[in-house]
Amino acid sequence: MPTLVYVEDHEGEPVKGSLGVVAKASQLGDDVAAVLMGSGVESLAEAVGRHGASRVFVADDPALEAPLPQPRVDVLAKLVESEGFDTVLFGASVLAADVAAGLAARLDAGLNWDLVDLELRGGKLVGKRPALGDSVVAEVGWKSEPRLALIRSGTFEPLESGGSAEVTKVPVEVQDFSKQAVMVERAHEESQGPSIEDADVIVAGGRGLGQPENFSLVEDLAKALGGAVAATRAVVDAGWYPYATQVGQTGKTVSPKLYIACGISGAIQHKVGMQSSGVIVAINKDPNAPIFEYSDLGVVGDVHEVVPKLTELVKARKSS
């Protein structure tokens, strides 16, 4: 099963989600190759090797500088065909989903998305995909090669194997139609501190906080725990908190070790976005809030009282 993992980068580092997929692919027992695409990304190859890839292909070209999908499809399609990869895996993101889907069309290759696990069963690759608001899990597969898969973000943890990769440069030829979309302004970070994709601890706030100013309660607790702040769809839409922190939108799922939901009732989109977290603690004054159905620890109480107290206790514990 010659496998290629698409490794996305952001601000000079391979993203955690991609490295997690490299780790999973290595665990499935093969030599795993990875591909980096961008401008000035060659220096990231070493880090990818350290995380388990035995070969790293590098497509380093100004044409790939902007995080746009179509030039990447051009490069990837050639690479998959010339090297004969039968499996191509992606950690899901806004960019990766568009790259994977474009590649599926280009190669007439099957794409399964939103996978939360991969296993080999009698030599056959099987993926697991939650469906219907995660109430069932479908086992999915591929009828032909290459097999393409998008892994739900944050599903697999990266693993430093300490290895080093053989680095191969890949020629970059971009088709005319792929050059037509042009990035005129690149996103700048709106959020401070660790991003919610990478954080081990997330403290999230919802409508139950009452007003935007009360997000400071959530921020204080996140700071005390060394975690990131997240927000629900409802409060982002209401303009209380930046979009970059939103959990539960397409392709945006988080899976920290600890997720603390403050004043969040727990709509289905939110559930799908965070339920693969390690431990979920919910604080809400409504004992019937749906979030309690998928929390490990539910606190029925007023966030305005419980959260500051919790922050205080966590701080005291850390300083003792």
Binding site: Q70, D296, V306, R317
Partner: protein, 260 residues
């Protein structure tokens, strides 16, 4: 300006959803509804048409016969014309097969802008536009939270994990809109009454020049083997207490699991 909006019928949000234990396909015998996310694409299409002063909005739907109701809703909201890609041979189509049929249908339209909603409410799929764009060899921009068309160019504000990008592309192009882009209008009574009179066309595989092995299950590259239950979250605990002692119990709980 001519805008094509790709829409889908999904099971009604209020209907209990199930997967057919034999085929593993979504049971579509329950009441269907126009995919909510697609109403944002329709709204954006209507705004583009109206700002441009002339042109039309064509709603394109692939789905079984009964999905015509959802297409009629798109007309009631304000689309000018409807194309229904419908053929028994299309049942069970995956991304590869669906994008092929839809691209063929869109090719016939030669729209300036092709719009999609941000995801399908039933499969949570958020990939179709990129596959369709690749087949049409057109530029694609997804997650559009803002869209302007000026001087033959679209300018899109794209939402990503990291904030907002601004991307430009010449028309014709494919844009998938986020549901943050607008507040969709509801169909008016006049719109509902008038929908039946608007032109509606049904297109078969043969009309699209596709053979049976390019569509449906035969044309698909993925399959579903089995359905199971998600892993249980295990034991849950609940604390019902006032501020002070509840916080102490949470700290105890977290410390016991070495989370702090």
């Amino acid at each position: 300006m001519k805008v094509a909006v790709c829409v889908k019928e999904v099971p009604d949000a209020s209907a209990p959803k199930r997967l057919d234990p034999q085929t593993f396909r979504l049971d579509r015998s329950v009441a269907g509804a126009l995919n909510d996310f697609d109403t944002h694409a329709i709204e954006e299409g209507l705004q583009l048409r109206d700002k441009g002063g002339e042109g039309e909005v064509v709603a394109v739907l692939m789905g079984p016969e009964r999905a015509a109701d959802s297409l009629r809703k798109a007309l009631a909201i304000g689309a000018d014309r409807a194309v229904h890609v419908s053929d028994e041979g299309l049942a069970g189509s995956d991304l590869v097969a669906t994008s092929k049929a839809l691209a063929k249908a869109l090719e016939r339209e030669s729209a300036d802008v092709i719009l999609f909603g941000q995801q399908a409410a039933d499969s949570d799929g958020a990939v179709l536009w990129a596959a369709v764009a690749d087949r049409l060899r057109l530029p694609v921009i997804s997650q559009a939270a803002g869209l302007e068309v000026r001087d033959g160019k679209v300018k899109v504000k794209r939402q990503t994990e990291y904030g907002y990008d601004v991307i430009e592309a010449p028309v014709p192009c494919v844009v998938a809109v986020s549901d943050a882009i607008n507040e969709p209008r509801y169909p008016s009574l006049k719109g509902i009454m008038g929908a039946k009179k608007k032109p509606q066309e049904t297109v078969s595989l043969a009309d699209l020049g596709l053979s049976a092995d390019e569509a449906g299950e035969d044309g698909s590259r993925t399959e579903v083997y089995a359905l199971g239950n998600p892993p249980s979250r295990g034991d849950r605990e609940r604390i019902e207490a006032d501020g002070g002692s509840a916080a102490e119990k949470v700290v105890e709980y977290l410390a016991g699991r070495k989370l702090i």
